[in-house]
Amino acid sequence: MFRLRPEANAETIAVVVEGRTILVPAGASAAAAVLLAGFSSIRETPVEGNERAPYCMMGVCFDCLAEIDGVPNRQSCMVEARPGMQIRRQIRARKIDPSAQ
C-alpha cells in the first residue's frame, strides 16, 4: 500500500480506477493511481496468473501493464494521469474482441 506524503502536491486530478473515482496529485502516473487506490497488484500474468505490481516504474519491466481508456497492455508507469482517465488492472492476457474493427 502507498499513501501521499503529508505535504503532497495540492493540485489533484480525478481518475477512475476499476470504476472508483480517486484523486491523485498532478504528475502522478496511472500506475501510481492504481497503487493509491489501494490495490497491491496491478496485473495477473498471462502464463500462470500470478499477481504482479510495478517493479521498475520507468518503462523497462512491463509488470505495470494495465488497460487505460480501453486500450490494454499499456505501460501504466509511463502514462501520466489525466482527468477522467479510466484505468483497469489487466487480468492475464489481453482479450481480443472479435466485434472490434
Partner: protein, 456 residues
Amino acid sequence: MTIGLAIVGAGPAGMAAAVLAAELGIEAALIDEQGAPGGQIYRGIERSQSNSPLGTHYLAGQALAAALRNSRVEYRPSTTIWHIDPEGVLYLESGGRTDILTARRILLATGAYERPVPIPGWTLPGVMGAGAAQILLKTGDLVPEGRAVLAGQGPLLYLFAAQLARAGAPPIALFETTPLENYFEAVRRAGNLWPGRRMLLKGLGLMLAAKRAGIPVRRGVRGLRALGNRRLERIAWEGGELAADHLFLHEGVIPNVQASLALQLRHEWDEAQLCWRPALDPWGQTSLPNITVSGDGGGIAGAEAAVLSGRLAALGAAARLGHIDETERDSRASRTRQALDRELALRPFLDRLYRPAKSALVPAEDDVIACRCEEVTVGRIRRAVRLGAPGPNQIKAFTRCGMGPCQGRICGPIVSAVIADTLGKPIADIGTYRPRAPYKPITVGALAALSADAGD
C-alpha cells in the same frame, strides 16, 4: 527533411547535449518517451518545489530542464522510438500516431535502469526497485504505507532512505548486502581518493543522514528472500526474519542498451561494472560513424558526468557537421573533460565497493524466476544450457525466456550470468540478447498508419 542531430532521451545527458547543440547552430530534435524532461534521475523535476524531500541534488535538474525549454531545440515529449535505421531514420510513435524523423547524426542518451535483483520472491507484489519507489515519490508524492525495508547497496539506497525519512515515511530498516570484503578491496585498489573527495563526502553525508534519521542499518546481509503468499509478508536472510509490507531492492544501475544492441553497435562487457556497454571513443563515438552515445547509457558515471559527456557529444557532433572546426571543438572541450575526469575519479572505488555479490547476479535456487514476463525459472535455463543451448538467443528459443513484452530488458543480465555460471565461462564469452524492433510494443493500427512515402 533531414535535421542535423536527433537525440534520444531527455535525461541529463540528452538535455545538456540538446541545449549545447542548438547553441552551436545544429538543428536538433530531442525525443523522449516521458511527458516532461528530466529522465529518471530528475523525473518530475518541473513540478518539484523548493522544500522537496528529494533534496538539493535533485533540484539541480531544474536548471537543465529550464535551459531546454528556453532553447531552440525541437523537443518531442511523450514520443516512443520503436525502431532506428542505422542510416539515420528514426521511427516514432506518439499518441497512437506514427512518424518518421531523419537525421544526419543520432545521439543515444538512453540512460540507465536498476540492475534486476533476482532474489527468491522478487516477483511478489510489495517488492520493487528502490529507484522505482523513488520515482513514485518524485512524480506523485507517494510514500510506502506500513513497514518498508530497503535492501541492497549503493548511494541511491542511502539517499532514498533519507528522502523517505524527510517525507515522513522512514523505512524500518536498511539492509546492506555489500560483501564485507568489498570494503577492504575497494580501499586497497582505490589508489588516490583525493580527486574524488567531493563525491566521497557526498556519499558519507548520505550515510550519516540515514543514521541521523534513526534508520537501523544491518551490514553484510546475505541470503535475502522475499516471502509471502499473494504479496510480500516477510523478509528473511541468513540469521533472521522480519515482517514487512514493502521491500525496495537496489544493486546499482546498468546501462540501458536496448537500442544500441538492436543497432548492433559494438558492445563490450565491463567487468568492473558487471554490465554490457557500447564501445565508445572519447567523444562518445560508437562503431557506426553517425551514432554517438553519452551519459549512463555508455557506462555508469552518474548525472553530473552525464551532463558533461552530453556536452562533449554535442561538440563532437558540431565538428562533424561542420558548425565548428576541430580546434574550436578541442578548446571548448578541454575544461569539460577536466570536470569529467573529476567526476570519474571516484568511480573505480565505488564500482569495487558496490560490486554485487554473486548471489545478486546468479540466483542460487533453481526455482527463482529469471524471466518475469514468461515466468521462466533459473532451473529451466540451466537445463536448457545442459541440453546444448549455447547462448542467450538460443535460450529464448528453448524456453521463451526474453520473449515477453519487456523483450529481455530485465532477464537479459540474469540469463547471461546463469549461462556463464552453468558453463563455467566468463559472461564476456556468453554475450547477451540481440533485441529487435519494435523496441516498444506498438499497435498494428499505428504500424499500418505509417505511409509509404513518409520517409521521403
